[in-house]
């Protein structure tokens, strides 16, 4: 073998391959931008205040059709005083989704997940007692569901919980305005399996709980769900990429297996990267269409985490293997310091995720950020992950710096070298630079795309008639880009077989012999070219 495909590919073939991949990328981008809708949809739902005189906690209060709720208009007006309303009588009912276009809409399973955020409107009256800046709120939350075809008043319980949250509020400047209060994350559903959901909230006064609440005028629930169209586009991308990557991976590994030597560390890393990407690509979402799988959010996070840790490890190993110094590294063990950074970072993110989304599997209302200790634990894990990421990037940039230093040193020495040796080093440099360029390009595009998306809210308009959904385009574009990146790596960094038939004809055995006993003065790059150089040197 003479290095990787990328060195031996003619320029024309390289250009054809790269332009094919770039077209794939463009298609992904446009698919997201022109076909897919925005990734998620929001509905702001205003609470219907219901009067509960039975205090029967197992009863669900629903808004539509009429009859499920005895409405209260105002909680601190004459009406409330007349009816002697207490905390036990008030139920805030949210029936999701809200109807539109004369149709009682229902959630589709394509919508995947649902996030609920609570916003409490508290009126500020100058003459009244000022509310504390940090108000502890205790919420009795009950989530029910109903499906099409069920009787309209038959709500089944999905989850119930008593949650405490802390609301930060600052008084407004003018009398009669609303306090500026923070939003309260209320629930996260990993599976949107049923058609209709009903949320009943109570704010019970037990001991000192909720005593600090000021004159609440309204409750808003903001529900965010993934758009069905986005899921469809996303899933079709996955369905296309999954077999592609698996196919290329098999092709790659077969070529490696065909070699007479053991696969090198880089080749194993590439394979592992391919496997990680394939797990990310695996279109498991199809199953959610028929089964209730609340763990999908967690699973998605885990799959992404595995992929990112593989990618980070790969860059590290790749840079390390191209160091061209005289130290010998024994496989992955040689990178334990750097890789442990990736490990620690990913592990702490995993623990954090398990604490939040793991527990949400049992109680969708759970939030680790709701209490002080939880917040501290969560923050410490996030900080550990952040530090690990920082150290990792220091390591990586140091290694890359060293590679570049070695490259310039070797460059100067190149003309004086024997031609085979020169070819070898040129190959190493070329491979390294190629990957560096591609990686930097991908990373820069991701970062720039992300920043552009954050800076420019809303839709992008290039033309009156072209309505580009930028956020979706960014997601599909980035997703496609990393797929294309790894496809390209698998193709271009697979062992080239351009010259090896002649090699294997006569010099197979000697090659192998020398391969496994590299001279300490030689670079650790394990390719048959190394062997050739050694042979020429000993000759």
């Amino acid at each position: 073998m003479a290095g990787a495909v990328v060195e031996n590919l003619s320029n024309r073939k390289l250009i054809v391959l790269i332009s094919f991949l770039l077209i794939c990328l463009l298609v992904c981008f446009l698919l997201g931008g022109l076909v897919a809708p925005a990734p998620s949809n929001v509905q702001s739902v205003l609470a219907t205040k219901c009067y509960d005189n039975s205090q029967n906690k197992s009863k669900f209060f629903y808004v539509r059709p009429n009859g499920g709720c005895d409405k209260i208009d105002d909680l601190h007006g004459p009406e409330a005083e007349e009816r002697h309303i207490t905390d036990k009588n008030v139920v805030f009912a949210f029936q999701l989704p809200i109807p539109r276009g004369g149709i009682e809409l229902d959630y589709s399973r394509w919508m995947q997940n649902l996030i609920g955020i609570l916003q409490i409107d508290v009126t500020f009256f100058k003459e009244w007692e000022l509310m504390e800046p940090r108000v502890p709120v205790t919420i009795d939350a009950r989530l029910g569901y109903r499906n099409k075809g069920d009787p309209e008043d038959e709500w089944k319980e999905y989850a119930t919980s008593t949650e405490s949250r802390t609301m930060d509020c600052s008084p407004p400047e003018r009398d009669g305005y609303l306090y500026n209060c923070s939003l309260l994350p209320l629930f996260e559903l990993g599976a949107l399996h049923h058609d209709y959901y009903l949320l009943n909230l109570r704010f019970p006064v037990i001991y000192e709980n909720n005593r600090g609440l000021g004159p609440v005028s309204d409750l808003w629930l903001v529900v965010i769900n993934q758009n069905g169209g986005f899921t469809k586009v996303w899933l079709s991308l996955k369905t296309i990429f999954f077999p592609m990557v698996v196919g290329v991976m098999i092709w790659f590994w077969r070529r490696v297996q065909l070699l007479a030597r053991q696969p090198t560390l880089l080749e194993s890393m590439l394979l592992a990267l391919g496997v990680a990407l394939s797990t990310l690509n695996l279109p498991l979402e199809y199953l959610t269409l028929s089964f209730e799988m609340p763990f999908m959010l967690l699973l998605g996070d885990m799959k992404q985490g595995i992929f990112y840790s593989m990618l980070l490890s790969f860059w590290l190993v790749f840079a390390g293997e191209h160091l061209m110094d005289d130290n010998e590294r024994k496989g992955l063990r040689g990178y334990w310091k750097q890789l442990s950074c990736v490990g620690v970072g990913c592990l702490s993110m995993f623990i954090f995720d398990m604490c939040e989304r793991g527990i949400q599997l049992r109680n969708p209302f759970y939030s680790i950020w709701a209490n002080e200790i939880g917040t501290q634990i969560a923050l410490s894990f996030v900080i550990i992950a952040g530090i690990a990421a920082g150290v990792y990037f220091l390591f990586l940039s140091y290694i890359i710096y060293r590679v570049f230093r070695n490259i310039s040193a070797k460059r100067q020495a190149l003309p004086a070298m024997a031609s085979a040796r020169r070819h070898f080093y040129e190959g190493v440099i070329y491979r390294f630079k190629f990957l560096m360029l591609a990686t930097l390009l991908c990373a820069a595009m991701t970062v720039v795309g992300f920043i552009l998306g954050q800076v420019s809210e809303g839709k992008w308009k290039w033309d009156e008639d072209i309505n580009l959904e930028y956020t979706s385009a960014f997601f599909t574009g980035v997703y496609g880009m990393w797929n294309v990146y790894i496809l390209a790596l698998l193709c271009l960094y697979s062992p080239s077989h351009k010259r090896w038939p002649s090699e294997s004809a006569g010099q197979d055995e000697t090659n192998e012999e020398i391969e496994f006993t590299p001279l300490p003065t030689e670079p650790s790059e394990l390719s048959s070219l190394t062997a050739m150089i050694k042979k020429t040197a000993t000759d």
């Binding site: 809708p37 925005a38 998620s40 949809n41 929001v42 509905q43 702001s44 739902v45 205003l46 219907t48 808004v63 539509r64 059709p65 009429n66 909680l75 601190h76 409330a80 005083e81 309303i85 207490t86 905390d87 009588n89 008030v90 989704p97 809200i98 109807p99 539109r100 276009g101 004369g102 149709i103 809409l105 394509w110 996030i115 916003q119 003459e127 009244w128 007692e129 003018r174 009669g176 305005y177 996260e188 005593r211 609440l213 000021g214 004159p215 609440v216 808003w220 965010i224 769900n225 758009n227 069905g228 169209g229 996070d301 992404q304 985490g305 939040e356 954050q454 809210e457 309505n467 997601f475």
Partner: protein, 379 residues
Amino acid sequence: MSSTRTTVVFIVVLMMVLPYLGTAKGRGRGSKWWGIARAGEPNNLVSNSIKENSITNSYLDPDVHATLRRKQRRLVRDHPGVVVAVAKGAKQAISECKHQFKNRRWNCPTKDFHRGRNLFGKIVDRACRETAFIYALMSAAVTHSVSRACSEGAIESCTCDYSQRGPSGADWEWGGCSDNIQFGVKFSREFVDAGEKGRDIRYMMNLHNNEAGRVHVSTEMRQECKCHGMSGSCTVRTCWMRLPFFRVVGDNLKDRFDGASRVLISNTGRTPGNGRKKYNYQLKPYNPEHKAPSKKDLVYYENSPNFCEKNLKLGIAGTQGRVCNETSIGVDGCDLMCCGRGYKTEVKEVVERCACTFHWCCEVKCKVCRTKKTIHTCL
């Protein structure tokens, strides 16, 4: 973007469908619907039906029916539940108007026996600032209230306005629905502007002020965002618009009232060539050195009466008997409020609710304070 397009299309269609009625017959004819605010009051026949006017109930009370124009009736019929929202909005507008003007000579008086467009008295016959404010506020209130009712699910027929169309056409499953405010604005434009047509400057003024009210609601929307990406990070961020608190809209409109633009009566308005488009006009300022009124500005073309004396023709009660503030040099000060007629001063013992605390839920505990207050009333 698509919604503006549909609105434009709608307006064009509207102009073609509706018979082009003559001008200048009844200046405030478009405001007849204000009477809906009186619906639901205890001494009113309308009351029972409007409170019970549920979403499924398309039956319309004859009294409400009478206050609405044909097109408005159709809208109400097409959007069950909307009457309640409009009525609530109108009531809210009245109380907001009273709040904003409580310290001025004109304090937004309404009388129980006033009906329809006369809800605020005959002042609306005059194209003055006060009228401009009332129109804008009423329109804003309808926008606000209808959007709110959509959020509560009280109006099932709020349009979805799919921002992006799926392969199978407009689709909630594919791309979700637009914000509720869009329906509020669209509905308000259809409903509130239904009676305003013609080439008259007064119609243009009303249309402009109605639109200004709506613009104030939609520009006061505040964006809020939530991150929900991988592990809750900000890789995915979703934002939504929060409906403004109505008091904010009222305050802003009051500011615009103070800086309202006077426009030329001779405004023919229509830009040449587009004579039939309802909203296609540009009002010219009275003072040529001033800028043309912006979308948010209130416009008027007649001077306000001074509101000092009782004026039966305009339905002004005058400021006699109004309480004023001796120390203020503003409009609530005794000098201005009483129009120089002088005032009498009394010391009264006032029983007030004070030092109120709110106990969740829903008890307001107040102390009863007896204070001696010096009260000045205009002669």
